[in-house]
Amino acid sequence: MSVDPLTDLMPEHSGYNYVFNNPISLIDPFGLSPDTARVRPVPGQPDTYEPIDPEDNMPVVDVRPNGGSSSSSGLWSESGETGTTVERKWKVEGAYLTEEQFFELARQHDFIAHRVLRQEFGEQHAIDFMKYDVASAISDANDVGITVFEAVAPVPKVGLALKLGGSLMATTGMIKVSKKAFGLRVGLGGSKKALLSTVLAYKLGLRGSLGRKVPTFIGPRASSLETALGRNAIPIGGSAVGAGFLIDELNKKE
């Protein structure tokens, strides 16, 4: 037995315990860091793991350097026979990348485990660990219905998109525009202006009776969907901006 080489990453835990003393919920197949038990070894196939839950879309991941295996989810394909050098390609956003390209992509996104492992144990062990780590990421991504690429690559862009989109949305909730400019009827006398956010919601087809009154941020309770969205554009957009900052902060910590 030896001290966990990743002890420095988990200062609140002793380096001599196993999976934070919680073997029912956590596993540690590589003796490095605990993870939730989403996979289990495939009987009779050393170094190969499969999902514990059959409903889980996690692919079967083979950590042997040139091993023959199958993908249950279509996330990757390979050519060649077992025991020979095979070329495995990973499916990313509809295109297939080679294994090298895929892991380069993941490496660019700076997995802490990969960085530490590469220093401590060398490239091959780091890649083996990453295969397990990436498989977990794929499984988590499948749970929320997004692609592998979205799971590992554009997290910084998600934060940025939320911040920009949220700012724009909140701004539309503070500007009044001419109804005529947006092709809305001005035959009814009275104000010729409407909230930009309300007009945009109406134009995007987000309209109609709500069946109940909905509280709004800058007015009385609204009866129509377009008005409810329009008057609540500021808190909705503001929440998106907050989520963007949160995602960016979490990304920095990783």
Partner: protein, 102 residues
């Protein structure tokens, strides 16, 4: 279903409290601003009437944004408008065009 009940259903579909022919759609149901505008567009379409000639400013408070809360708590009289009843809207449907209440 007669016209009055259809109009009651139209304006009552978003209201938890029961409404009658004497309910004022502007003051009692708190319909104002853009909400009133889009509801009246719906009303014209559903009942196939023309509301040309209706000056919304006479009956509905404009979209006030944050000023709404100032009026709501400090000057509630500014949110009161000339009454526009369900009964009158039913009469408008019967005639097929907008006319001022007597």
């Amino acid at each position: 279903m007669d016209i009055l009940n259809q109009v009651i259903d139209f304006f009552g579909r978003n209201s938890k409290t029961p409404i009658s022919q004497n309910t004022e759609i502007n003051n009692d149901l708190e319909i104002m601003g853009d909400d009133a505008y889009f509801i009246l567009l719906d009303f014209e379409k559903q009942f196939k009437v023309s509301l040309d000639g209706l000056n919304m400013d006479d009956y509905f408070v404009r979209e006030l944004m944050f000023k709404y809360w100032y009026y709501k708590w400090l000057k509630p009289e500014k949110l009161e408008k000339k009454p526009l009843t369900i009964e009158h809207m039913a009469k408008v449907v019967e005639k097929g065009y907008w006319f001022e209440p007597e």
